[in-house]
């Protein structure tokens, strides 16, 4: 079994050249002579302890304050997508208007500093983010390596899903393929089987955990097959390397061998992993999961939400506009020219896409860390230079118009630019990457939903007549 193999290697290794080191991206387990006990890397055991104490904490809180009022609901909110209504509990991340998204309380800069990286690497590993989201604790290097190995072992997909993917026409959007394949993977669901075997509800979370681990492990394989089928003439994704981390395997299955692309992928998969519970994809996973649909069905539903133009497609709009700007200015990117282009856009009643995060008061750290990556690795990329310049100029222009709103660029603007640089120009595919990343947060949350025994979700709906009556208006008015 996996753990036994790892332990044996550590005991046996004396030289650093135990495994062939084919690229900067492969990792070696034998650099440590300390034995890490089974208990310290067994995520499920660690989680079980944390869950029991958290269950008590929540239960005590609800006993003392369950009836406290925490907000007021208006008619507009009922018509307005429930915006602002505090109606859901979601533990894994919270959006801080000052610091950006916080994963279990840790901001992105803090995660970048504290989470393990590959030897010689600079970007945190998504395995570490998942560990943090699930347990609330920062993992150490060994725990992360263990997780990489476990995911590598769980990565195989059943042949019926392979057949299904290979039979999809190229006209079927990548997100539709992605969601369909995930739904079909539910044949592997341990949760569904346990439920039909009548397992006690106190154990639901354990099966949700198993399915989450399996699904996360399989997503890169599915996503890479979709990519290869659509854009690389159906070439083979190749085998999973058990010594490679999750992102490393993903990159090589996609057919990218630049180690900096893999670093980018690590960063990308970390920063998109979670964004509170109210957004369509996270809420859907939570909602569908509350009916005790297995995690595969729940996550696939979330992906159907992510496919909607209002949720996951922002990155495309931005890229299109940036390219238009580049074309219009033909490489003559003086501040004045760029300013004129912006003003012309605004005057013609259009919006400059990709700026102004609705909620943040400062620059989105997800934008910031991508900018830093670009400055380090691709400072001369022409599209990056357009982004840099535009967003240097846009804030002042907005201020001139008497707007207070945070005018800083959107995380999506930047991700498109970075992916393009390494050769991933297929914009239709970007949302699939986003989806793979979002699995980390939404599935970690789903495990906790079952652990805390959260019930079926069911807000009260009202008809217009009903609302009028409630407010004291005659419905014939």
């Amino acid at each position: 079994m996996a753990l036994f193999r790892v332990v044996a290697r550590r005991f046996g290794a004396h030289s650093k050249q135990f495994l062939p080191s084919s690229s900067f991206a492969s990792r070696q387990f034998h650099d440590s002579t300390t034995l890490y006990s089974n208990g310290q890397t067994n995520l499920k055991e660690i989680l079980a302890e944390i869950i029991s104490s958290e269950q008590v904490r929540v239960s005590d809180f609800r006993k003392a304050h369950g009836g406290s009022v925490i907000g007021q609901v208006t008619v507009d909110q009922a018509y307005g997508g429930m915006r602002g209504i505090k109606g859901m509990v979601y533990e894994t991340s919270v959006l801080d208007p000052e610091e950006g998204i916080r994963f279990r309380g840790y901001s992105i800069p803090e995660c970048q500093e504290l989470l393990p990286k590959i030897p010689g690497g600079e970007e945190p590993l998504p395995e570490g983010i998942f560990w943090l989201l699930l347990t609330g604790k920062i993992p150490n290097k060994h725990q992360v390596e263990h997780l990489s190995r476990e995911w590598a072992e769980r990565a195989d997909i059943p042949s019926h899903v392979v057949t299904m993917l290979n039979n999809f026409p190229s006209t079927l959007h990548p997100m539709a393929q992605f969601s369909a394949a995930i739904t079909a993977l539910s044949s592997e669901s341990k949760f569904a089987k346990a439920y039909s075997d009548g397992v006690h509800k106190a154990k639901y979370w354990e099966y949700a955990y198993e399915d989450a681990m399996d699904l996360i492990a399989k997503l890169p394989t599915v996503a890479a097959m979709i990519y290869r089928n659509l854009y690389r003439e159906g070439t083979n994704v190749g085998a999973i390397d058990p010594n490679n981390d999750w992102s490393g395997n993903f990159a090589s299955m996609l057919g990218y061998d630049d180690p900096y692309f893999t670093e980018l992928l690590r960063l990308y998969l970390c920063i998109h992993s979670d964004h509170e519970g109210g957004n369509v994809s996270a809420h859907t996973v939570h909602l569908v999961g509350s009916a005790l649909s297995d995690p595969y069905l729940s996550f696939a539903a979330g992906m159907n939400g992510l496919a909607g133009p209002l949720h996951g497609l922002a990155n495309q709009e931005v890229l299109v506009w940036l390219e238009r700007c580049q074309e219009a200015l033909g490489g003559d990117l003086t501040d004045d020219n760029v300013k004129n282009f912006i003003w012309n856009t605004l005057k013609s009643g259009q919006v400059v896409p990709g700026y102004g995060h609705a909620v943040l008061r400062k620059t989105d750290p997800r934008y910031q860390c991508q900018r830093e990556f670009a400055l380090k690795h691709l400072p001369d990329d022409p599209l990056f230079q357009v982004v840099s310049q535009l967003y240097k100029l846009v804030p002042d222009i907005l201020l001139e118009q008497g707007k207070a709103k945070n005018p800083w660029p959107n995380v999506d603007a930047h991700s498109g630019v970075l992916l393009q640089h390494y050769g991933m120009t297929e914009m239709n595919y970007y949302t699939v990457l986003f989806g793979v990343s979002r699995a980390l947060g939404t599935l970690a949350s789903l495990v906790w939903d079952r652990a805390l025994g959260l019930p079926l979700e069911r807000p009260k709906s009202m008809s217009t007549d009903g609302l009028m009556q409630l407010v004291g208006v005659s419905s014939s008015d």
């Binding site: 925490i70 602002g84 609705a358 118009q401």
Partner: protein
């Protein structure tokens, strides 16, 4: 943007009207319902700047009570005096904490002895109303006003400016909101115009107004004012003291 000097300089360089987000006409329908009817009532504009919003509001509603125009920039207060047709020679009290004669003051902050005599009572013949206007140069984070003395508090872009302070924006905004809550009468409204999203602004309001169990003491709601050009959505946040 959060500094007094910035605004002083700005108003000195250009004495023109400056409106954050939009002017009164745009949101007239939404605001008029908040104007109290009684001539005993008091309206205060926190951080009035060189905006004509409150003046337009008072004219449109034929407000009969007292209106207070406050700003930490002297230039702004001078500007307001002009547009309310108050005489140039009146003096204005400055520096928070100085008790101003004829104006309700916060006894906690009265500690300075040197002060200009405060305010200007002016029955404005232009407006043909009983309305009286007061002009205070003071800091919204430390208002020289009694608890529960204002029926309507108006904030258009003020807390937004304070939030721009890179180092202390959040704590200053909290302080300002606490003060606004303090001077609000029971049943009074604090209305805030901004482009900040409810996810951010609601939690700021909830965390600032009151240290404990905020919804026991206040109701906080918001409505969207719509999109006025450039795809930016504006909001009206309403806090009512119970």
């Amino acid at each position: 943007m959060a500094k007094r000097q910035t605004w002083q300089k700005r108003y000195i360089d250009s004495g023109k009207q400056f409106e954050w987000f939009f002017n009164f006409e745009t949101v007239k329908r939404k605001v008029l319902p908040f104007i109290p009817k009684s001539d005993e009532c008091r309206i205060i504009d926190l951080g009035c700047g060189t905006s004509h919003f409150t003046l337009d509001l008072c004219k449109a509603s034929e407000f009969q009570g007292s209106v207070f125009l406050t700003d930490f920039s002297m230039e702004a207060v001078f500007h307001q005096q002009k547009i309310y047709a108050a005489p140039q020679s009146s003096e204005i009290c400055y520096d928070s904490g100085i008790p101003c004669n004829g104006v309700p003051s916060n006894s906690k902050t009265s500690h300075l002895d040197k002060s200009a005599v405060s305010t200007e009572h002016k029955k404005s013949s232009k407006l043909k109303t009983k309305m009286t206007s007061f002009f205070l140069c003071c800091d919204a984070e430390m208002l020289p006003l009694k608890d529960h003395s204002m029926d309507l508090v108006i904030d258009k872009g003020t807390v937004d400016s304070v939030l721009k302070d890179k180092n202390n924006g959040l704590s200053r905004a909290r302080q300002m909101l606490k003060e606004a809550a303090r001077i609000l009468t029971p049943g009074g409204h604090y209305i805030q115009f901004t482009d900040e999203d409810p996810d951010a602004r609601l939690s700021l309001l909830e965390n600032s107004l009151c240290d404990f169990d905020v919804y026991r003491h206040f109701n906080i709601t918001y409505s969207s004012l719509g999109f006025y050009g450039n795809g930016i959505e504006y909001f009206l946040y309403v806090v009512v003291r119970k």
